[in-house]
Amino acid sequence: RPLTLYAASSMTNAIEEIARQYEARYGQKVITSFAASSSLARQIAAGAPADLFISANTRWMQFLADKKAIQPNTNKPLLKNRLALIRSEYAKQPVSLATLADQLGDERLALANPDHVPAGIYARQALENSGQWPSLAPHLALGQNVRATLLLVERGEAPYGIVYNTDARQSTKLSQIELIPDTLHEPIVYPVALLLQPLPEAMQLYQFLFSSEASAIFNRYGFQPIKANPSHAE
Amino acid sequence: MTLQITLEKQLGEINLDIDLNLQETGITALFGRSGAGKTSIINLIAGLEKPDAGKILIGDRVVFDAARNINLPPQKRQIGYVFQGSRLFPHYTVKGNLNYGRRHKDPESLNTIAELLGIEQLLHRYPAALSGGEQQRVAIGRALLSNPAMLLMDEPLASLDEPRKKELFPYIEQLAKEINIPIIYVSHSLDELLRLADQMVLIDQGRVIRHGEVADIWNSEAMLPWQPEQDISVILEACIREHSSRYSMSCLALGDRLSLWTPFIDAPVASRVRMRIHARDISLVRQPAEQSSIRNVIPVSVVDMTSTDNTSACLITLRAGQHILKSSISRWAAEELAIHPGEQLFAQIKGGSISRNDQVANLQPSNAFLIAR
């Protein structure tokens, strides 16, 4: 049977490309399934037939580790990402994190839901650490995921938003993308892990994810691959 | 009030082609077989259907004119319509139904009509809690209270069973007496026709066959198809000469010295009544029997006689004064008595055989009476 890779939906494009590369290289089919990290994690806990899982945050990976649904020693950070403050085409004034609260006025700041969406959780940390959270909190529009949040800004519903840099870079409808200093929040880490009973070839794909070929692709989509030595993961 | 109708309409295979000019008040019966087009005609008058061509005038109001592209909607035609089923509104009380078509909801006219129709006790019930006959009376009241210039009734009794019909009959008779707007009454019941109608229009295959006084049309050959052999009858119209209160009988004047005794008719002397006499109820004798229970023995002359070979009956047309009578006797008797046209005989008409049912509406515009029952 082919390999099955579950990945957070914010990685769709990059993972698809890497899967195709892998197929070409090793002649083995890879099935990819994209959904919210939460859905995927719950499905894996319920016995989903996946071999590898890439989560958009460490929380859901930890959830699986607690349930003993992954091989703990294969749980490695794969990528890092950055947050970006974005401005809609429809918003005239350039914006910066420092002046965000003032510039917002009656408008709303689009944010992924900080209750559960990783991007939202990181964004809240950044805003708290920059001291703006209290004044911004009543002016938020919360998306169910990063993509929905980006959409709100793209359509001009909200003039500004905070999303992953990777998503922001793929959009053509933004007039400004300003990276938020990664000192303001925990590192944004995408961990990967093998599940309990993967196909033998799963390790090969696991290692391929850390290869320079894959890194190049990740880079192209704005992710920052973490150079770890996957061979340690036995 | 006149009603002028010139209409054409294709109804499935039947082509309705009507040219009618009703000058009359009172009840005009539309009579004809099932499928003749009766309902269609009154639907066209009411505006519920649209003619293909033609013109409809009610009084001097043009309600439809194909040439001038006039087609008043039903609610502008001021026509009351009592449908075959009662079509009461199930979500209104009787009172609500009665009030539906009224502009001025004064209580007097409501009470008058409710009394006329015997529905005073029912005003606060819902239609579902009424019997079929009560429903139909409410429907009539509802139509009347909408203050129509003309009333259309489409077999208002047809959906009712026999006892229910009997119950409703008097109300309609009463109605015709007290309401003075023209009524068009659709029916294919001979009984209703005789008791209610002043004028009649005979419809067949979408065309008007006859139109005129009920008695004239009844006694014409156009009505023969509706009168089975054993049911042939004539309609007499005559004035009441005297009453015998002792025997509960009344005497009709058929001619100067010709009288016909009938069960008591509750109408003043001199009023004109209509009466149906079945051919089978008239027997013929050369000499009156001396002591007979038959009250009416009238000298008549034979006008005509017809018989068909494979039946036992022979139909004799007789003249009594200005009136025509018909007698159905056996061929055997006809031969034995050697009856021939021109001959003078005596007709025996059983007084009791003129049933109350056969005494029908007064024809005078005065609307002076109606048989009580």
Partner: protein, 228 residues
């Protein structure tokens, strides 16, 4: 018994679903009427269009709403310019999304009920001098009450459960657009918050059951009254 958070979500859900149903009812009646009574070219197409919200995933509907009714949307921008009306991030937007998603169910139920109304009663009313409008409001509509109730409650139930279109169109704003399903979603997405999600789920179910039972009762009353 209920936390403030739950009460807020519940009240909002009731407001959103209630308005969705109330405001779409007249249009639903109109559309159902047209479909029940008239034949015209393109009728099948109209009928199908009305069913579209049933066929499309709610997220797509939310997306289309955003494009058309959003602040920069084709229609939404005009509405804002001309009338100052905006659905953005407001409970009205949530109600709009709910109304659209529930619309086909509402129309279908009302249409069936309208088709069952005896046209003969309407004709009778016409001959009694009633204008088509009076006929509609005094005869047709009252006789459609069971269908209206059924359609309304069906639509209400569907609105209560609406999630995808709402969150996509008007996002998740506590007190403004965070209805029961959106609150539920947040908990489901949070590891270990299953209990809270279950509580909200239960609240939803109780509300829906209550609504269904009430409508059953009302329908039975209406039918008894009409002796149908």
């Amino acid at each position: 018994m209920l936390s403030e958070y739950e009460i807020s979500a519940l009240l909002l859900s009731l407001k959103v679903s209630g308005s969705a149903v109330l405001f779409s009812l007249p249009l639903a009646i109109l559309v159902a009427w047209v479909l029940a009574r008239y034949h015209f070219p393109g009728k099948a197409l109209l009928d199908s269009l009305i069913h579209l919200p049933l066929v499309l995933p709610p997220v797509v509907i939310g997306y289309l709403l955003l494009i058309s009714m959003g602040r920069q949307g084709v229609i939404g921008s005009r509405l804002y310019e001309w009338f100052g009306v905006s659905f953005s991030f407001s409970w009205q937007g949530a109600a709009l999304a709910a109304a659209i998603v529930a619309f086909p169910l509402m129309v279908r139920a009302i249409r069936l009920s309208l088709q069952a109304v005896d046209i003969k009663l309407e004709q009778a009313a016409r001959t009694l001098g009633a204008s088509p409008l009076k006929v509609f409001f005094t005869i047709t509509l009252p006789l459609t009450v069971p269908g209206l109730l059924a359609g309304t409650i069906l639509a209400f139930a569907r609105s209560l459960g609406e999630f995808g279109a709402t969150i996509t169109f008007v996002s998740n704003i506590p007190g403004e657009t965070r209805t029961l399903p959106l609150a539920m979603f947040s908990f489901i997405e949070t590891p270990g918050a299953e209990a809270e999600a279950a509580r909200l789920c239960l609240i939803s179910i109780v509300v829906a059951l209550a609504a269904l039972l009430i409508s059953e009762g009302l329908t039975r009353m209406a039918q008894k009254r009409l002796a149908l």
